[in-house]
Every structure is written in structure tokens, then in C-alpha cells.
Symmetry: C2
Subunit: 305 residues, 2 copies
Amino acid sequence: MQPEHAINSGAGSQGPAHASSGPIAIVAGSGRLPIQLIEHLERTGQDYRVLAFRGFAEPELRRKAHAHVDLLDLKTIMSTLDGWKPRAVSLVGAVRRPGFTALLGAYSALRNMQEVKEVITRGDDQVLRGAVMLIEERGHRVVGAHELAPDLVASRDLHGSLEPNEDDRQAITVGLDLLASLSAFDIGQGAVIARNHVLAIEGPEGTDRMLVRVAGFRQSWFGLRRRKEGGVLIKAAKQGQDLRVDMPTIGPRTIAEAAKAGLSGIAIGAGSTFVLEQEETLRTADRLGLFLAAVDLPWMEKARG
Amino acid sequence: MQPEHAINSGAGSQGPAHASSGPIAIVAGSGRLPIQLIEHLERTGQDYRVLAFRGFAEPELRRKAHAHVDLLDLKTIMSTLDGWKPRAVSLVGAVRRPGFTALLGAYSALRNMQEVKEVITRGDDQVLRGAVMLIEERGHRVVGAHELAPDLVASRDLHGSLEPNEDDRQAITVGLDLLASLSAFDIGQGAVIARNHVLAIEGPEGTDRMLVRVAGFRQSWFGLRRRKEGGVLIKAAKQGQDLRVDMPTIGPRTIAEAAKAGLSGIAIGAGSTFVLEQEETLRTADRLGLFLAAVDLPWMEKARG
């Protein structure tokens, strides 16, 4: 999947007036996460409604959706949610950040211009937090997919058959330092490090494209594609990040792209990273010879193990 | 040009035994910088010798070269320099970082394995500093191209016809903060920021490819190529960086790529950035509607203005 800006949200927030017997409302973008959340809800016998973003939701999700809406049509989003009287709302899956002007127009239908402009210019996190805020102000309870389906989150003891070696452990240490240093900035949650050499920092292009970039310059440097030069992909929620928005996500495709980039493994933040198709992800890592390790993030209060 | 790792070096170092009447030795990689340095030396009537790296030096430079050598053939590099008895040596132009194993083999011809491995694993800066160290240990005086030809360096008052607007100034502030935060890491010297939103951080792929990346995801976000969404390319030497190695470089091509990425301008560190073909660079900025501004870097002791 393409985890540009996963919009998973939730935690905290005061319970509003809506019926606690209503369905769970899933506001869904692209990728496998919304589908896996729905599967979990079905397995556990929970009632749900899906509001799918046009142009983002996958076909399988579109077939299950109860309503379809344009990303920037906030009025329809709000009236649909109001109509469902959900006991909780969860924003799940990825969307691409719209252009500034488009966002400005959409939000200003509901808020005053200056306030909206300030939220938007504060960056991605702020835009998503702004969306959560708007939904909460309507009296809905916003919860994260990780609260609805904790099974989807990397536990502390998640690991494949292979272990990081000494170079990899150094890379993980450098990577965590790097991400901590970047946490004050509106930038991605991933980086590729080989020993102490930073090969890439994730921007709005997302993890998969960052890995393609690393594969590309390794190809041009060494003349051979897929030569295993080592290096580690680190994905972790930012220091001070509100996990209600934009939780890091990996899956089998992440493993495959990391292998193509010649990496020796992947380290993810324990308790704060979604692992899609967990069994298949671990199998892929083993098969392609990469380690997969969940690491405690020094800046996270409590990683659920 | 492709400023992967500009190897310009110099400053300081005790004058060794070699004749102060000898030529200036230019050890040259790719790009326009070595050529412009040579033009400067010719204009000012200084004697020089060029040692060109095979596979990197441009045709124009190859024709002027007095010797050609493989990047990793340190023994020939050293014996050639020794034979020229230069009054100064300057490492100029870009080279791609060779693979770890290749580097290890090359350096270990001269040094003990453990020491070499430690230098190499410390990252790009360290590899280049290691090269300078080796040359200095042979008794040569290593100087930077910026010392031989200060005209090539951005002065504090360098600017085109356009000025950064308020959003651009915010982006410059955020970009300088970001680069300062990154200075402890072995990573590039450039970033693209729109307001406070970090669109890209430069890795080993270099500035031009970073700009192509930004152009790419802007295209996919907005459906229109070249739509001017704003944003600023910041290029600056790192905090604590030894300017004898890897000084940032821009030129007309940088401007063109920035324009394609929809940026509104470029900010460079005053006194610590090479500007290739300065007049053409400024003309290109004006023509494509981008500002070009030299900014004082808070972490630099003295920017020459």
C-alpha cells in the first residue's frame, strides 16, 4: 500500500450525546488497512458503516461502503456521519494531501479563513488533526483503528527468523536519533540508514517510493541490481506525535521494496506501527532474507507489548 | 552538474617542504567546477596541473588534463602528485561514493585495515576528509577551490531580481533549523520546504534528483506539471562542516530543476556555496521567475560578503 498519510485517529475525547449503541463509522482512504479493520469488526461481530473517499478506496472496500464522498466535501462527510449516529468514528487508510488552495476552499466552508489558513500551513499532522477536531466538535467520538483492532499493531515481541547484525543495530540507533531530531519538523516517519550513513529520509512521497529511490541509486552506484549492500529501513511514529493521526504502517509490499533496495532489514516502533497481513509480512521477510524487528521508541510513554 | 559529493578542500594545514614555486595541482571529478577553476587560474596567470578521474571528468576537462587516474588508485594519485611537486593541491568536482568494499580495498593499500574501516564507516565527510589527510601526510598543502578562486563563491549580496515573499522567508527559517538539526548526521546539505512543510531532504542522490522527486509528486498531486505551488530549495554547508570537503554547489541547471519542481526560489549559504556560471545562473533565475538569495548561516563563523 501507499501510506502517504494514514488517517487513523482516535484515543481520548469526551463521549458525546450520540447513541452508544450506534455503529462504528469508518471514514476510509486507500490501502489495505480499512479492509483489515472491517474484517476485524466482522469477526468480532461489531456493527459498522463505511464512508469511502472517492478515488482512494480500493475496489474491495468500495463494494462494502455504505456511502461514497469526495475527500474535500466536508459538508457531506459531516451530514453522513451525523445521520449514522455512530458510537465512534475512525479515520483509516491513506489520502494524498490536497493542494493548498483546494484545502483552503474546503475548510473555509466550515471555519473562518484565518483560522483555517493557520491550521493548513502548520503541516500534514495539523491538517489531519484539524479534521479530527472538526468531527469531534460535531459531538462524535473519534477513535483510532489501533484501539478498535489492537491485533493490527506491532507488538514488542514481533520478529521474523533473522536478527539484525552489529551494523544493523548501529543503523537502528542512528535512525532513532535521526527521527527524534526530525520530530519537530513536518516530515515523514521513515529513513534508510546503512551503518551511520543516512541513505534517505522519507518525505511526502511515502515509504515505498523512498525505497525505490534507494534501489535506484544503489543500482547506479554498483552496476548490479539487488546486490545486498545492507542498510535498515526505520519506521516510527514521531516524538510527541498524536497517534490519533498518521500511524506508521508496513506490510508485505514494504518488505519486498526493502529487499529490492538491498536492505538487510526493517525496524518498526513497537506498539505504534500497523503491520498489515502480519503473517504474510513475516513470511515475506523470512523468504527474502530480511530481519523484521519491533523496537521500543525511547520517546514513547508506553509501547504495548 | 551532479553535485553528489563535491570534493573541494583546502584551508589551514602547515606548509610542507615542496617548492612554493610549483604548480597548483587540481585533482578533478565531474561537473563544471573544475573547469571554472582552471579558467580562473588561466585568467590570473597561475601555473597548474590537472589529475582527472576516469569516468568522472567532463570531456573539456579531460582535454586539459595532464594525467588520468582511477578514483581508487591511490598509489598512482600519490606518486603523480609527488612528481609534480605542487605548491598546493585542490580536490574539485564531484565523485560518486564508491562501494564499501572497493573503498576498503583502495585505502587499505596505504593504511591498516581497522583504521581504514573506521574512517569509511563514519560516512561521506569522513571518507573525503580521509583523502585530504592522506595527501597532507605526504607533505602537500591542500587548499579549497574557494580559496583559489573566491569569485566562484556566493557573496552575501548575491541576489536576482526577485525577492522571497513571506511564505518563502518562513520556509528559509524552517530549512535552516532543519539543516542545523541534521548536521550531526551524515546526510546531504539540501532540503525543499514549502512554508513549514518539508517536501524533501537531500540524500546521496544529490540536489538535482531531489528536485526531480519534488516535481514528480507535485505532478501526481495536482495533475498539472509545472504548476507553481511555491516552496524553497535551501542549500547550505552543515553546522561544524569542514569547508575543505564537500562545499555545496549550484548552477543554471539547479535553477531549471527548481523551476520544474514548481518552487518559488533558492536560498544558499553566503560565503560557503559555489555558484557556477554566476551571471547565467542569475539570468536563469530571473527568466524562470525564481528568487535566488544568499543567506547568512547562523552556525558559520564568518560569511565572506
